[in-house]
């Protein structure tokens, strides 16, 4: 599908790191580091003049940062609600930016992988989204950025508490790492509870996508470190790698078992998902995301042809509200969105064929 000329807006024109992702399970991972600057009160207590100083300071150092490609800074008072929602969707943020008020700022770069929020809870929250399953090297990249800024600004730090954050439950490493895995097979054959019980570990929290604690959307489980303190960054990352590898193996096993048994219930679910995506006249995001996950499963099991996993991953990110609205140049009315989403999906899937007889 040819996309309209990308808008010149730095946020709505962000390049999409998921375009090349052909992994059917590993949707994305995000890693964040929360930091505050010494001698400044935390953002909630900071006067607007001092907030501007922080924005200037962080902006200045990030703009000279070799690790970033053409960074731009957007003040939150100049950010529309659509752009804020776009950032949340793009970076799979677990909390919204809608409340961001003046004195806060977003810094992004042209790779579409980097986001820094300034004065949002903490002075600096650096974040990288990766869609290639590269947890370790993503963390290294982020740490390089963080230490490079740290040469110019002094971070708030106490040996007892580590790096200090406005919310003490993030102090210590200030590191929040999340892996988003799509596990339709385990969920379809109802093995997910057993698997999670078996692999249970209080070091990690499992929620739905975008921080929704109980609602699993699109079969995506977000696996995140529970502790930022009392554990080293290396251990957080390797623990996360270990847990996600085990989940990947379980999901692969479940997929094989569905394929061997040609499980009729799953066949039915995948066929229905195919039908919904190709024949709905209007569709809500959650229903679409759930069906896309089943489509991906169908492609893996060779029940569906004519569409690749990478294309379906692309669709997964792009059919959410603000991405869809931005695709249509922000010209669609609220009530038209479900219909436009159907239209968008029909075009994306026009080559897809259901091979189930």
């Amino acid at each position: 599908m040819t996309e309209p000329t990308p808008p010149s807006n730095p946020i709505l024109g962000l390049s999409k790191p998921w375009v090349e992702n052909s992994n059917s399970i590993w949707l994305a991972s995000t890693i964040s580091l929360y930091r505050n600057v010494e001698k400044f009160m935390y953002p909630s207590k900071l006067s607007s003049d001092r907030q501007k100083q922080i924005i200037g300071l962080v902006g200045k150092y990030l703009f000279n940062e070799e690790g970033l490609t053409g960074p731009s800074i957007v003040l939150s008072e100049n950010t529309s609600p659509l752009e804020k929602e776009y950032l949340v969707e793009h970076f799979l943020s677990s909390y919204g930016f809608q409340h961001a008020h003046s004195g806060e700022a977003f810094i992004i770069d042209q790779t579409g992988q980097f986001l820094a929020t300034v004065n949002d809870h903490d002075h600096i929250r650096l974040k990288i989204i990766d869609c290639q399953g590269e947890l370790e090297s993503t963390w290294s990249r982020l740490v390089k950025l963080e230490t490079s800024i740290g040469k110019s600004v002094t971070y708030s730090f106490l040996p007892k508490f580590g790096f200090l954050t406005a919310d003490p439950s993030f102090c210590g490493t200030g590191l929040v790492a999340t892996v988003f895995l799509q596990l339709p097979a385990l969920i379809q054959i109802d093995d997910i509870d057993e698997v999670l019980d078996k692999l249970a570990d209080e070091s990690f929290l499992i929620t739905g996508i975008q921080g929704s604690p109980s609602e699993i959307i699109g079969d995506v489980l977000a696996i995140q470190n529970n502790y930022t303190t009392g554990v080293s960054e290396e251990n957080i990352i390797s623990g996360l790698r270990s847990l996600t590898t085990k989940l990947l193996l379980e999901e692969n096993r479940a997929r094989k078992s569905i394929m061997h048994s040609q499980n009729p219930n799953v066949k039915d679910q995948v066929s229905r998902a195919f039908g919904i995506l190709l024949h709905s006249y209007q569709i809500e995001a959650v229903e679409a995301l759930n069906a896309i996950s089943l489509m991906k499963l169908g492609v893996e099991i060779k029940w569906i042809s004519g569409i690749s996993i990478a294309q379906l991953n692309h669709l997964f990110f792009n059919c959410r509200r603000s991405h869809l609205m931005s695709f249509y140049g922000n010209t669609i009315a609220q009530e038209e969105i479900p219909h436009k989403r159907s239209e968008y999906i029909h075009k994306a899937l026009k080559e897809a064929r259901l091979l189930i007889e």
Binding site: M41, F157, L196, S203, T228, S232, E234, S238, L249
Partner: protein, 182 residues
């Protein structure tokens, strides 16, 4: 996992416990107030300062303070102990010095520190890891170790297909050993 959902939940994945309307702790007390024809329900946690305030009135001395505590506030930013008890963010670095013990106790209560570290009373520091300026190096073998462990497991259960999948990944990593991050 720390959050234990109910049996009839569709998945055993997380249900956020009901939270106190004042702070973010789990609910322990339901408070119903009847004034004339108005009935108000409030759900609160066990040590909610709001509960004490409702029971003893606004002017109750030391309303939110536990026995033995004094009216603490940070000298730098004015954040009070009461504010912290209801989950307000800290205001500045000095808050960590002023409320240090309380912060540690809260982190332990919220299970935000590994038990091993929480129980280690001799060690005054809860932070493990680098200080500002230190650049940690992720051992390149860390991911290999994980993959090798997984490979070992799959071979034990004679799942050769998955073992091959893991071997491919190990091969990919060892063939271009150094950093992809530059």
């Amino acid at each position: 996992m720390p959050l234990k959902p109910e049996e009839n939940n569709e998945f055993k994945v997380p249900e956020r416990p009901l939270e106190c309307t004042e702070c973010k702790k789990p609910i322990a007390v339901r408070y119903t107030e009847i004034v004339g024809e108005t009935v108000t329900h409030t759900s609160m946690c066990a040590d909610c300062p709001e509960l004490l305030r409702r029971l003893y009135g606004l002017n109750h001395e030391g309303s939110s303070l536990l026995p033995g505590e004094t009216r603490l506030a940070c000298g730098e930013c004015g954040t009070s102990l009461e504010a912290i008890r209801v989950g307000t963010s800290l205001g500045c670095n000095n808050c960590y010095e002023v409320f240090g013990d309380i912060i540690v106790a809260e982190l332990i209560a919220e299970e935000k520190i590994p038990i091993r570290v929480a129980n280690n009373k001799k060690h005054p520091s809860i932070h493990i890891g680098r200080s500002p300026g230190e650049i940690p190096e992720m051992s390149p073998s860390s991911r290999l170790i994980t993959l090798n462990e997984a490979l070992h497991e799959t071979l034990k259960i004679e799942d050769y297909e998955q073992a091959a999948w893991l071997r491919d990944q190990i091969k990919a990593l060892t063939e271009k050993p150094e950093k992809k991050d530059d």
